[in-house]
Amino acid sequence: MELKIDFIKDNNIVIAKVEGILDAHYAPQFEKKLSDYVKQINNNLIIDLSGVSHIASAGFGALMPIKNIQDSKGKKIVLSGLNDNVKKIFNLLGFSNVIKEYKNIEEAKSSL
């Protein structure tokens, strides 16, 4: 399985559509690709995870440097499309206090 990230600009928002799995193998690539891109922009960001079937601690951890970049620019970062299993881990880690998550891209867009 390959990790794929498509970046879509939608007015003032950037949507990063991720496909694959975010475990200890793929999380470093995910973090690098996303942070390299996010450093270049000055937009609110939606990371759409509807194409991600599994996220381990390394995947959640990889979101922290991205949030750091966004916070330092005063821009928002939100997630969308978490499957039920991923959401269980998201809740267990208390991640809702860090990054908000929405059911889908549309809901995430209206929050920004």
Binding site: A24, A56, F60, G61, M64, L93
Partner: protein, 137 residues
């Protein structure tokens, strides 16, 4: 009592295959439990810890066995002695405020296991994760 033993390839490139083997073994022993995904993740986190801290020559085995109303998982490795039960669980909210991204795996392992035990025997780390089996409705 059936006991399933899995030989785990000690590299992160094989995690997908490991998850599949562990998933199949759990289903075979106790069926589709509500905590199936979480337990598989906790086992994956332990394996990643072993790979991160051990040498390339390390061997990792996972044995799974149903004992009455519990599923007993033993993760056995030949890496340097390491007792994860003694590892402090970080204050995650403080961690997040400081943008730290380490320690989440230990938090997950400790929170997902109903009981976690460690022993070092004959040059091997043996970590036991116990999960209570939910009664079928």
């Amino acid at each position: 009592m059936i006991k399933i033993k899995l030989n785990i390839e000690p590299n992160i490139e094989s995690l997908e295959k490991t998850r599949e083997s562990v998933n199949n073994a759990i289903i075979q022993l106790v069926g589709d439990q509500p905590w199936l995904y979480e337990l598989n993740l906790a086992i994956e986190e332990v394996i990643v810890n072993i790979i991160d801290h051990g040498s390339k020559a390390v061997t990792i085995n996972v044995t799974l066995e149903r004992k009455n109303n519990e599923l007993v998982v033993e993760i056995i490795d030949t890496s340097i002695p390491f007792d994860i039960t003694k590892k402090e669980v970080p204050d995650l909210q403080k961690h997040y405020r400081e943008y730290k991204n380490r320690g989440l795996g230990v938090f997950l392992i400790k929170n997902i296991a109903d009981n976690l035990k460690y022993r070092y025997e004959n040059g091997k780390n043996i970590l036991t994760i116990i999960k209570r089996i939910e009664a079928k409705c």
